[in-house]
């Protein structure tokens, strides 16, 4: 169940991640819409106004070019979106050999032969003589309309192309991502599959407190398939005893017993002033925590005047504490207990 959950979580995270990346990637699509709007400013009206002001054709062309090729070094600090936009603003298809890189589009200060530009071409085609008569309002209108229409069509075409390109790109990216995700998921799956046994075993060991289950060696990710060939001291047995878990289980049991004896053991004091000796007892327990036989004195100091009292106090502590409330599935560990009752410094 936990395995399925992990996979589900991973896949969801992957999809969410892809969605985020996907949205980011589609943002630049908006840029081409803005650029043609700017181009429309350099329209015939603008041209007429400039012409009326007496701007030279080259200047106008230059201005049109700079506007049309929009990204100046300042405006395009991030090359990626620009590249994603790619299209030159004019109706003219972009020269494939010269992608509009920001560095390259730097407008030269000196007049240079303008790149083929639709506006420029139209300006050239249009009756340009800067004569006082100028174009008639009708001509202007027609020109304006024609330009606008052409521009609109180009725009649509361009947008369509861009959309298709982006779609293709996005699809590719999506496919790539999916592939990567799948790969990742597969890897994790494999890893989990590898780990699952030791993890489950660890959990089982912690819950069941069954020591020395020949599952995974402490600290190893993979269960040993055969006895180690390493020389010298090893952590655990050759069959992969989980000593870390065992040590933890024992520490927990020691803490449980310490806590129990803290209540059950009355320190031998004799009114103070005399240090009672430490007494080590050994006893066996039944699975239900009751005593199996009597506690035996393993170590004492009979030379101490309080030895007898200290021994009895220790035995009383054990007999008062029974039945011990210890994890039944760790019975193998606490079946036999040796405990040193150390009154330490007398008051």
């Amino acid at each position: 169940m936990s395995f399925g959950l992990v996979i589900s979580v991973l896949l969801h995270v992957g999809i969410l991640g892809w969605a985020l990346i996907g949205f980011n990637a589609s943002k630049p699509l908006k840029l081409p819409e803005e650029i043609p709007v700017e181009v429309s400013i350099i329209s015939a009206i603008d041209l007429e106004l400039r012409q009326k002001k007496g701007d030279s054709l080259s200047k106008i062309e230059e201005a049109a070019q700079s506007v049309g090729k929009a990204p100046s070094p300042k405006d395009a600090p991030k090359p990626k979106p620009v590249r994603a936009v790619e299209p030159p603003p004019a109706a003219e298809p972009p020269p494939p050999a010269a992608p509009p890189e920001p560095v390259k589009v730097e407008p030269p200060p000196a007049p240079e032969p303008p790149k083929p530009d639709q506006i420029a071409a139209l300006i050239e085609k249009a009756p340009p003589p800067p004569t006082p008569e100028g174009p008639t309002p009708d001509d202007q209108k027609k020109l304006e309309e024609k330009l606008a229409e052409q521009q609109r069509q180009d725009e649509i075409k361009k947008t369509e192309e861009l959309r298709k390109a982006e779609q293709k790109k996005a699809e590719l990216k999506k496919a790539e991502l999916k592939k990567a995700e799948l790969k990742k998921a597969e890897l994790k799956k494999a890893e989990l599959a590898k780990k699952s046994k030791s993890f489950d075993q660890q959990m089982a060991d912690l819950l069941n407190k069954v020591p020395d289950q020949p599952s995974a060696a402490a600290g190893a990710d993979t269960p040993p398939s055969k006895p180690t060939t390493a020389k010298g001291p090893t952590a655990g047995t050759k069959t992969g005893t989980d000593n870390v878990n065992k040590a933890r289980a024992e520490q927990m049991l020691v803490a449980l017993l310490n806590s129990a004896f803290k209540e059950c053991w009355s320190k031998p004091l004799a009114g103070g002033g005399v240090s009672a000796p430490a007494v080590k007892l050994k006893w066996n327990l039944n699975p239900d925590g009751t005593l199996s036989g009597e506690p035996k004195i393993v170590q004492t100091d009979r030379g101490n005047p309080l030895a007898e009292q200290a021994e009895r106090a220790a035995i009383r502590a054990v007999q008062t504490c029974v039945p011990f409330q210890l994890p039944p599935d760790q019975y193998a560990v606490w079946r036999e207990i040796t405990w040193n009752f150390n009154p330490d410094q007398a008051l």
Binding site: T237, A247, K262, S266, G272, G273, I315, I337, L347
Partner: protein, 443 residues
């Protein structure tokens, strides 16, 4: 604090190994049979619950009285707590039959004291008692005591002593008496009389009539005899009194004022202060030969002498270094004992020799404390406004002292405390009481 005992416990070695501390474990240790081990340092400092049912046989009232005295003695020690007899679910029929320990364990008893009273052919009463460890189900003691009917409390004290000794490991001290200064009347016109009572406050008897001022009684460690100060007018005298016969004698005839007398461990000599103008020195008086020996020389105040139990050293107080401090004189000369802040006085060497009790004046309060004979391990055992006059029980584990209460209606009361400092309790006296002196064991 939990520590692991690493001695010869394979799994513990393994644990140590896992902690990165050892490298010598061989791989085969996992096959050793499981054994859990550890060390216990934390436990309870609490009285042991005991059951003392009415003693059987003879007069039921006497059986109850005897059992009550035994239970009270043990309870007053602070090391035991007698269980209310109403909680008992078992009755003792025969003290020679092993008790049904389960019934006593059920009520929480860890020890059971049973007794049977009878009458001796000479008319004296007899008490036979047994002490059972209920938890381990083992007999710990079986004794027989006899006394005249009017001295029935003494056999109860003796029985309590046996139980105390067996259960706690401490020395006996219940079959003892206390001489103290009984104080009565208004605070500005107190009548002070010498009185004696059992250590539990029973059997109070007056030893002096109150015409003269009596102070600082001290017991002879080996006899039922006291020495004390008696002031008739301005004249102070060192006295010795035999408790049983009531005979009293003036000791010595000195030029100058003698005070603060105390017996030597063998009871043959007295040490005391001999005043001379503003100074005072220590002198020793042989009670048989009446010979006097100066123990200190030069100016200054030297007083409050107290022998070590082996008689080889004397603790005393002196201002020789500017303030009132404790010193010990022996064959090697004089060495300073107290090093803490405050003024120290009335050193009293324990009968066991392992502690010296003292009064300490600090921050306007008088405290009772103990320290080891080398001056280390100083511990204050009492708190309160004015504590003074420590005296040791013969077991060297319990001290009695008096505590003065403030106010116009205030006065001194006797208290006892063991040297853990945990078990302090008031000792009943008819009125106010001060200057207690603990007797040696009566038997």
């Amino acid at each position: 604090m939990t520590t692991f005992n690493s001695r010869a416990q394979p799994h513990l070695n393994r644990r140590t190994f896992m902690a990165g501390a050892a490298a010598g474990l061989v791989a085969g240790s996992g096959s050793v049979s499981a054994q859990l081990s550890g060390e216990q340092r934390e436990g309870q400092i609490r009285p042991i619950p005991i059951a003392v049912p009415e003693f059987i046989g003879g007069d039921p009232k006497l059986g109850l009285d005897l059992a009550n005295v035994v239970a009270a003695d043990l309870g007053n020690s602070g090391l035991f707590v007698p269980i209310d007899r109403a909680a008992f679910i078992d009755r003792v029929q025969n003290i020679n039959t092993p008790p049904n320990v389960a019934n006593w364990r059920t009520i929480g008893a860890e020890a059971l004291i049973v007794g049977q009273i009878g009458q001796m052919p000479d008319g004296r009463i007899q008490l036979e008692m047994r002490v059972w460890d209920v938890v381990t189900n083992k007999p710990l003691a079986g004794n027989r005591f006899a006394a005249a009917a009017q001295a029935w409390r003494r056999i109860a004290h003796q029985a309590a002593d046996v139980a105390y000794e067996k259960l706690s490991g401490g020395g006996r001290y219940f079959d003892t008496r206390i001489v103290f200064v009984d104080e009565s009347g208004p605070k500005d016109r107190r009548v002070k009389r010498l009185a004696i009572m059992d250590q539990d406050g029973a059997n109070v008897r007056v030893l002096s009539q109150g015409r003269d001022l009596v102070l600082t009684p001290r017991f002879n460690p080996v006899a039922q005899e006291i020495t004390y100060m008696q002031y008739s007018g301005q004249q102070g005298r060192v006295m010795v009194m035999n408790i049983d016969s009531g005979q009293r004698d003036v000791v010595g005839n000195f030029e100058g004022t003698t005070f603060a007398p105390r017996f030597s461990p063998d009871g043959q000599r007295l040490v005391m202060s001999l005043g001379n103008g503003g100074d005072s020195g220590l002198v020793e008086l042989d009670l048989r030969s009446k010979q006097v020996r100066n123990l200190t020389q030069g100016a200054g105040i030297n007083t409050g002498p107290s022998f070590s139990p082996d008689g080889k050293q004397i603790a005393f107080e002196s201002d020789r270094d500017g303030s009132q401090q404790l010193y010990v004189m022996g064959a090697a000369g004089i060495r300073r004992l107290s090093t803490g802040q405050g003024r120290y006085s009335t050193p009293v060497w324990s009968p066991r020799g392992d502690y010296i009790a003292f009064t300490k004046q600090m921050s306007g309060a008088f405290l009772i404390g103990v320290m080891k004979p080398d001056g280390s391990g100083e511990r204050i055992l009492t708190e309160g406004y004015h504590n003074e006059g420590p005296t040791w029980a013969p077991n060297g584990r319990v001290l009695m002292f008096f505590r003065e209460s403030q106010g116009a209606s205030g006065g001194p009361k006797l208290f006892s405390v063991d040297i853990t400092g945990y078990n302090e309790r008031q000792v009943p006296t008819p009125g106010f009481g001060s200057d207690p002196a603990w007797s040696p064991l009566l038997s």
